[in-house]
Symmetry: C2
Subunit: 427 residues, 2 copies
Amino acid sequence: MILQDLLDPTLDASSKGYPHHAQPMRRSEIGAQGWNVLRGDLPLPVAVIRRDALAGNLKWMQEFAAGRGVGLAPHGKTTMSPQLFRKQLDAGAWGLTFATVGQLRAGVTAGAKRCLIANQVFRSVDLQGIADLKRAHGGLRIAFLVDSLAQLELIEGWHVAQQGVEPFEVLLELGLDGGRTGCRTHEQALALAQRLRSGKATKLVGIECYEGLGATGDSGKDTAYADALMQRVRDIAKACDEQQLFETGEILLTAGGSAIFDLVADHLKLQLSRPVQGLLRSGCYVTHDHGTYHRFMNAVATRMGCGHGLHAAMEVWAAVQSCPEPGLAILTVGKRDISYDLELPLPIAFVKPGSENLTPAPTDWTIGGLNDQHAYLRGTGPEHQALRVGDLVALGISHPCTTFDKWRWMPVVDDQYNVRDAIVTCF
Amino acid sequence: MILQDLLDPTLDASSKGYPHHAQPMRRSEIGAQGWNVLRGDLPLPVAVIRRDALAGNLKWMQEFAAGRGVGLAPHGKTTMSPQLFRKQLDAGAWGLTFATVGQLRAGVTAGAKRCLIANQVFRSVDLQGIADLKRAHGGLRIAFLVDSLAQLELIEGWHVAQQGVEPFEVLLELGLDGGRTGCRTHEQALALAQRLRSGKATKLVGIECYEGLGATGDSGKDTAYADALMQRVRDIAKACDEQQLFETGEILLTAGGSAIFDLVADHLKLQLSRPVQGLLRSGCYVTHDHGTYHRFMNAVATRMGCGHGLHAAMEVWAAVQSCPEPGLAILTVGKRDISYDLELPLPIAFVKPGSENLTPAPTDWTIGGLNDQHAYLRGTGPEHQALRVGDLVALGISHPCTTFDKWRWMPVVDDQYNVRDAIVTCF
């Protein structure tokens, strides 16, 4: 797909899930074809996005951020879908977050004006890519992470050899002992901030951390953990502000994945010498899921003392292709099609061919394993015994990111599984 | 990418690994750009295919099959790359194997004339897809698997409602107790073959099984297992031949993944009342790997009493982005970029920026974990202590399939990592 054409590319049967018989057409034409998943119009497996759940998720998360007085810069790596980027921006997102300059380019092409790269940037090819994008898009803001002097020296080495490249906006990353990237101590972070202030290649515009890897689902533990981490973020922000190390009119404070974002949001508001913009970077909320994030959100809801408004919007549909032994049905879906990194897929519903009546999957059904192109649906009860070749089974997912990256397009369906729209991805 | 244009599509920076600054261009133009991975011309991570190893693998596997007197129908699901399909056909493959009708379409578009679908087909949309392809491509042969009466009845139900659709060529699948698809017993298989003979929707053209899921790497066990399974294949082939259940001039006998194909190859030769074409369906051999298949092939080489000619042809390159603690370097590569289903990636080499001298990765280096966009490179020795932000690290893979499906294009490089060619994928 061509970058200029990301919003409405031409699709065809070279992408799985696209009907074999359908002519190539623009993405925007798909919703008018009258296709229905349950009626058998699409080859299986197919990953679908439920329209109403998606719309609800976009709205709820944006309202959550607004209600806490922070902005939302959804992480685009989850979906890498220009259509979903647009929906997130239209819903009121402050901007978008990415992990790489390549992802950033897709986001800017889709219309993002304010972008975070929640990752270290240091290679010439990537620094040049950012400089080129800013030159091509007037007013575009891009801030990336810095966590070491070694990284800064690479940036400075590249910058000094250029003519007229603006300083890069950077966020100082705080990390945790035993964690991933980020300065481990206040002293390291402050020393790096001072060094940033004295250089010409960068401007310090804020502080960043990522709390998601330490989330457990235990509210007591998670609250103590988030409080301690965010206190460190606030302390370094205050110290940088007192020493006038920020070179920006508005200081960015950012944290927040999709697991315990409620525990960090309030900490992103802070009184400093100039305005502070708090930013959550949640990505998985957009489709939510049936597993890991479902459980994390149950804990969020308990902490909030009310329900939450996220609903699982992504399902992968497959057919029973063989019932070779009692208790075992083989489905036409596998590792190439659905997430398996956090846990195996979860059976959620089934339907007999010719029917449009979904039956919720019985609790005895489990996916016992995946091969590249097959899933092992095991069960003990009468509904499993009644499964036949051709029956359709819907699987829920755990971790949206690793299902998104297995599909180049996905139909967007209504509650009757009519295909009403389509999105594409650009991994 | 448009189906008609699979062999030479236009690529651009919407696909990761493509240089940000490069204009969109045809795949075939990439080899002339003078890009070099070590020199930093490509953003990282990037998955590369080593040209000479690829060429050697294509040749060795084809010669292996010829030496055993069987044909090769490489499984296309591994790569889903029209360029690699062409190379496999040009190397002498009998045809290609696929898992779905969607995959098949890409293979036929790439030039395959004889195709196996090593999977059950039964849905109307897929049966119609096969019929349409055969109508559009004179002389195209497509055979798929049948393992149950329920499946056959769905095929017959669709076929009887059509006008003038030729019977489908089908292979009877034999399976194993506790296994995946396939008839569990000789009696089941023979009864199904008899039923196939009496129907008008199908023609039985051969027998299929898949042994790969039961491979252990222990030659004694694997030999006994393969012998027993293949004896069942031969027995049912003989029984079907005696009862004149085959409706074909040439009977196909097919098995063989990339793990213990040497143990099934000889069993695919059989004297029946008409010619028998044995077919191996190995897929992963084309790039081989540094993990699972590397170990399986060591066992194959020991059994053969000589070396084997497969070499790991796929590597994923990343950069060190942070060295936040002693013993830990964070790399710019994650679950979205590299296989992790059979085991985590394996560090194989590193290079300092500005150098073109690769150093083999020390044995103390391991990838301790992956996030979506990050890898944790751990080590204890002096080379790990000397790692700096910006250093390049090459990772080997275990299981080619699940790295291929994370990339839309891959550069093909020479031994100096000059980009000499490119392939695309169409998952």
